[in-house]
């Protein structure tokens, strides 16, 4: 059994890889189909405000398709906030990598930021900022940037001593050492951090829009909730899941391109 386990694990990883790459392995199709059927059965016995039928959900999705600007606004907010968070995260991680003293002072603060619940950041944002877009951007950046910092810095510190010694022995400049070793060696950690933050930011932006916006998917969800339209809530949830899955597929494709040497 012991020697079979790695094989089984690698098979599972391969199956997951296929799914990430955009392919649909049969397990995924079966589980989604089972959920589809179970929901359909539930909608037949439960009232519509608990489990709306697929037909009602489909109608809501068709309505959503007529006003894609709400999706565009949310996606735009996430994209801008993630790019800003990544720029801040990379800059801080690089500075902390080069100056150990800076890391010793900044790391506790980064960990404190990560420990603050998202709800608290939403409340702080409402108290501190008047402009709605600033509130949402602040919440997303303050949640995502520390994750980039931690992941990227871990990746940099994780470069093996063997490779460091080999490159150092070639006498590179500090810049060459960073661009030829540290940065390319950190690419896997950077991509993993993007995946984590994509998922997190979609969830956080929805919460932020619930309380601090007049547009976007979170705002639309709040409106659907106020009108007790479970079909709309469900439809918007489907949209959010599809956005996240699309983003993950995009990152995975970039990952495959950049990390072709691992295959």
């Amino acid at each position: 059994m012991a020697d079979r386990l790695p094989g089984r694990q690698s098979e599972a990883v391969e199956a997951a890889d296929v799914a990430h790459a955009g392919g649909w392995p049969k397990e995924t199709i079966v589980s989604l189909a089972a959920f589809f059927v179970l929901w359909h059965l539930a909608s037949m016995v439960l009232p519509p405000f608990v489990a709306p039928s697929w037909a009602r959900i489909g109608k809501s999705l068709a309505d959503i398709a007529t006003r894609p600007e709400f999706i565009a606004v949310t996606v735009g907010r996430v994209a801008v906030a993630l790019l800003v968070s990544f720029a801040i995260g990379m800059a801080l991680a690089m500075a902390m990598y080069w100056w150990a003293l800076l890391e010793r002072y900044l790391m506790p603060l980064v960990k404190v930021l990560m420990a603050v619940p998202v709800l608290c950041w939403i409340l702080f944002a409402v108290l501190w900022f008047k402009v709605r877009e600033v509130r949402i951007a602040f919440i997303l950046v303050v949640v995502c940037a520390p994750i980039f910092v931690i992941d990227v810095l871990d990746g940099m510190h994780g470069v093996s001593k063997d490779l460091r010694d080999m490159v150092r022995a070639l006498r590179p400049s500090a810049r060459q050492f960073f661009t030829k070793l540290i940065l390319p060696a950190t690419v896997p950690a950077i991509l993993t951090s993007w995946k984590v933050n994509l998922s997190l930011s979609i969830r956080v932006v929805t919460m932020a829009e619930l309380v601090g916006a007049t547009s976007g998917i979170g705002y639309a969800l709040m409106q659907a909730n106020e009108t007790f339209s479970v079909a709309d809530v469900f439809a918007w949830t489907v949209v959010l899941v599809l956005i996240l899955m699309s983003a993950n597929i995009a990152v995975t494709r970039i990952e495959r391109r950049l990390l072709v040497w691992r295959e």
Partner: protein, 262 residues
């Protein structure tokens, strides 16, 4: 740096253990000179300070006392002065996994600021010489251990160094592959008239390939400094047995030293 002789004078290295702060002597005292063009093998017990000596020699560690000078400069203190002057082959190939074989071989040349066309030319030449013509674009994880180590040799030779240093470079390969690559390495060292220092725990390898043999005690001191060309082939089996005994006992063999000095 016209004088490529390597002078080791009163070299001592003491480490402090993390936590306990206990001093551990890795190198007790070393004094010797390696002349330009010599091929020198260093042998000794595992943990005798060979790799510590190697790291000081390539400039990654600072001596506690004494000095190493190559062409009048210290590899640690004048670190940048040795860019492109030392070719290093480590125990494992240490190829960068995200770079193709070609790009791994050009790494040292990129760091030296050699122009791109010359980088490609030199890398192709060495990959060809080491039988890796069909694998320029391959990534290290697509290749066997022997092929990767040959690429590591190409990387070391491509910078056209004055001195080649190898730390247990063939010990992790199977015997057949190790023999082939070892032969290629020494052929190239001799053809290019390089100075070479080979750190190894394999006595056979050292006697078969080097011009000169330095036997380290533990902690590192010089138990014997043998010019192997001065020994007739029929005397080598006996010499081998005596060196093994010397390494085991950690004591110099007066008879060997007398023969060597005569």
């Amino acid at each position: 740096m016209t004088d490529a002789d390597i002078h080791v004078r009163g070299l001592r290295k003491v480490f402090r253990q993390k936590g306990s702060g206990v001093a551990v002597v890795a190198i007790e005292r070393l004094d010797f000179t390696v002349r330009r063009g010599e091929i020198v093998a260093i042998v000794g017990k595992t943990g005798c300070g060979k790799s510590t000596f190697f790291n000081i020699l390539i400039g990654l560690e600072q001596p506690t006392e004494g000095s190493i000078e190559i062409g009048g400069r210290a590899p640690y203190g004048d670190f940048d002065a040795f860019r492109g002057r030392i070719g290093i082959i480590f125990q494992q190939d240490r190829l960068l996994p995200w770079r193709s074989l070609m790009d791994n071989v050009t790494l040292g040349l990129e760091i030296m600021g050699i122009d791109s066309a010359e980088q490609q030319h030199r890398a192709q030449r060495w990959l060809h010489r080491l039988g890796l013509d069909d694998f320029h674009r391959a990534f290290p994880n697509e290749l066997s251990g022997g092929m990767r180590q040959r690429a590591a040799l190409a990387r070391a030779f491509a910078v056209n160094p004055e001195i080649l240093l190898a730390d247990e470079a063939f010990g992790h390969l199977d015997e057949v592959t190790a023999t082939q690559i070892r032969a290629q390495f020494f052929d190239m060292v001799r053809a290019e008239r390089k100075t070479a220092i080979l750190v190894t725990h394999q006595l056979e390898e050292a006697i078969d390939t080097a011009d000169r043999l330095l036997v380290f005690g533990r902690p590192a001191t010089l138990l014997a400094d043998l010019h192997l060309k001065a020994w007739p082939p029929q005397a080598l089996p006996g010499l081998r047995a005596r060196i093994q005994a010397m390494i085991q006992s950690n004591e110099p063999d007066p008879e060997i030293i007398t023969k060597e000095s005569s």
